[in-house]
């Protein structure tokens, strides 16, 4: 029986215009459509595959505001069994350190986890470090940026793929895994799955339930703080020519003029 916890984040859709609030530089959640981060669906898929290959239970863990329940339901409709949702206004503006500590605290709500699976990097913050930070706090191995994963008993093997190439990793459970886009193709929720998801248990907890230091949470507790944020002026279109047989030459002349060649 493998107890798997999948970390799920609700993010602004990358197809919509993403903004920060002018007042406190936090994410403007109203301006963009909110969706489950695409990479999380692959994390859920990988957890379901492990469960289906043997025995196990898949718990979704999400830290986010109330409306993040949509992301949780999506994961449950794919086939996850239950969920823990950490929702607390005190978390607004939290940095990565606080986020990792809250997730570590919330894992205590899941009865004996063996494996945590996350996406390698959220599409909004792109910090790419939360799974590693979580492993650091929990004192377990990180097998991150996995493009392939195999579990044999309690031995976990992962092919890690990054800009440096492929690294073969091995560790024993419990462990933290993060997956890349190449790990799998996530399933679509079936109608039955969507209906069943409505009845699956979602435990909502607050910071007070987790035993984390409130002094590290939210905007006021953050180690990293934003001083300024502003939209960049959009790039203006420059010169444009039609190719009349000399388009390549004209491009070369432009590059010479810019001292680029």
């Amino acid at each position: 029986m493998t107890n798997i916890v999948v970390l799920v984040k609700q993010v602004p859709d990358t197809y919509s215009e993403r903004k920060l609030n002018e007042s406190d530089h936090t994410l403007d959640r109203e301006s963009a459509d909110a969706v489950i981060d695409e990479i999380n669906e692959r994390a859920v898929e990988e957890a379901l595959k492990i469960k289906e290959a043997g025995e196990g239970e898949v718990t979704v863990l999400c830290v986010g505001p109330d409306r993040a329940t949509d992301a949780i339901r999506k994961a449950l409709s794919m086939g996850a069994d239950k969920a823990v949702h950490v929702s607390d206004e005190a978390l607004q503006g939290s940095d990565m350190v606080a986020t990792a500590k809250v997730i570590a605290g919330a894992l205590g709500k899941v009865d004996g986890y063996d494996l945590v699976i996350a996406g390698n990097e959220a599409s909004d913050g792109r910090g790419g470090a939360i799974p590693a930070m979580l492993a650091e706090i929990l004192g377990v191995p990180q097998l991150t940026h996995a493009r392939e994963l195999s579990l044999d008993g309690t031995t976990l093997k992962v092919d890690r793929e990054t800009e440096d190439g492929v690294t073969h990793l091995e560790a024993s459970l419990p462990a933290v895994v993060s997956v890349t886009e190449k790990i799998n193709e996530p399933r679509y929720p079936s109608f039955k799955g969507i209906m069943a998801a409505k009845k699956k248990p979602v435990e909502t907890v607050t910071v007070a339930d987790l035993g984390v230091d409130a002094g590290e949470l939210g905007l006021s507790g953050a180690y990293a703080t934003v001083l300024e944020a502003a939209p960049k002026p959009p790039r203006a279109a420059g010169e444009r020519v039609d190719d009349d047989g000399d388009g390549g030459t004209k491009a070369a002349e432009y590059l010479v003029g810019q001292k680029l060649i």
Binding site: T14, Y15, R18, K19, H25, E38, M96, V97, A100, D124, G125, G127, G128, A129, P131, A132, E136, P141, Q142, T144, V158, R160, T162, E163, G165, H168, L169, S172, E181, K182, A222, Y223, A224, T225, V226, L227, E228, A229, A230, P231, K232, P234, R235, A237, G238, E239, R240, V241, D243, G247, G248, T249, A251, A252, Y254, L255, V256, Q258, L260, I261
Partner: protein, 319 residues
């Protein structure tokens, strides 16, 4: 002057360019100290290169375990040095490894994680470019040691003389229950082309290239310019080019001096990975392609006519 620790990225005794950029950024904040984590003998090989970019000290954290476990030895080394040196900041490259090192180190030290900086300022604040370059952000550590990952290519490396005084750091033994063992590595075989995220010129092909075979038109232009080759998601998904070269929201983020987009329409997700490039040149048959909205120079035409001509012109000028 307070020390600023720089984690050295190296492969087979060669220091990566991004490390020289970190040393340059570190010198704006204090005294640059390079931290080398590797198998015994590594620091000796890389010391001269580090000295030429102004490393005042070189901490050698060497052990056979250093490359045998993922990320942990680097965190151990930086944490050990940070405890004795109380640095003003720690700088690492914003790579997959670097970002993970920075996050874990911040947990160990009670420090602040500042991710993917495109500029490091003398007051310790950093500049960031988020949402694919749509927003500029300035942030700093409110408390604790700033642990900063710096985007490769964002800071221009400048040479300077450094003493590179070597100090040995004892690495603690790695507990296998807490770290993943590295059982094998397959480094990226990049050939002679520069690495995508480190290149000063990137030439990318999109759906308009049409097939894997025809991608050589992109490669030829890249090689004439000494550039890296990139590809849009559409090109990767169609199997024209390997995924490791994908530029965009779900691929690499690049900000070279020059980005040449061939047959790329310029979907928002592609732009997110390249719109902070200094100069953008686009070639596309479709005059309405959104890539032209952000291109400094656009050619409306067939890339199979324009790109080879440009390749020849570049070759002529290089003589």
């Amino acid at each position: 002057m307070a020390e600023v620790l720089v984690l050295v990225d190296h492969v087979d005794g060669e220091v990566k360019k991004s490390t020289f950029e970190l040393l340059t950024a570190a010198r704006a904040l204090g005294e640059a100290s390079a931290v080398v984590v590797g198998t015994p003998g590594t620091a000796g090989k890389v010391k001269d290169a580090l000295a030429s970019y102004g490393a005042a000290k070189v901490y050698a954290a060497e052990s056979d375990d250093a490359t045998g476990y993922l990320v942990t030895p680097k965190v151990d080394a930086l944490a050990t040095v940070a405890e004795q040196a109380s640095p003003a900041a720690v700088l690492v490259s914003a790579t997959a490894d670097g970002k993970e090192v920075s996050g874990r180190l911040a947990i160990r030290l009670g420090g602040a994680v500042l991710v993917d900086a495109v500029g490091v300022n003398a007051d310790g604040s950093v500049d960031q470019s988020i949402f694919g370059g749509a927003f500029s952000v300035k942030s700093k550590a409110a408390k604790g040691t700033p642990v900063v990952s710096v985007r490769p290519g964002a800071v221009e490396a400048e040479q300077a003389d450094g003493a590179a005084a070597e100090e040995t750091v004892a690495l603690p033994a790695v507990d296998p229950a807490k770290s993943a063992k590295v059982t094998g590595v397959e480094p990226v075989v990049g050939g002679d082309r520069p690495e995508l995220t480190e290149a000063s010129i990137v030439v990318s092909g999109g759906r308009g290239v049409g097939s894997a075979e025809k991608f050589d038109v992109v490669e030829k232009l890249a090689d004439s310019l000494g550039a890296a080759v990139g590809a849009s998601r559409a090109a990767v998904d169609s199997g024209y080019y390997p995924a490791q070269f994908q530029v965009g929201q779900t691929g690499k983020t690049v900000s070279p001096q020059l980005y040449v987009a061939l047959g790329i329409s310029g979907a928002i997700q592609h732009r997110a990975g390249m719109q902070t490039s200094k100069t953008i040149v686009a070639v596309n048959k479709d005059a309405e392609a959104p890539i032209f909205e952000i291109a400094d120079f656009g050619v409306v035409g067939d890339l199979f006519d324009v790109a080879p001509q440009l390749t020849d012109e570049v070759a002529k000028r290089k003589g």
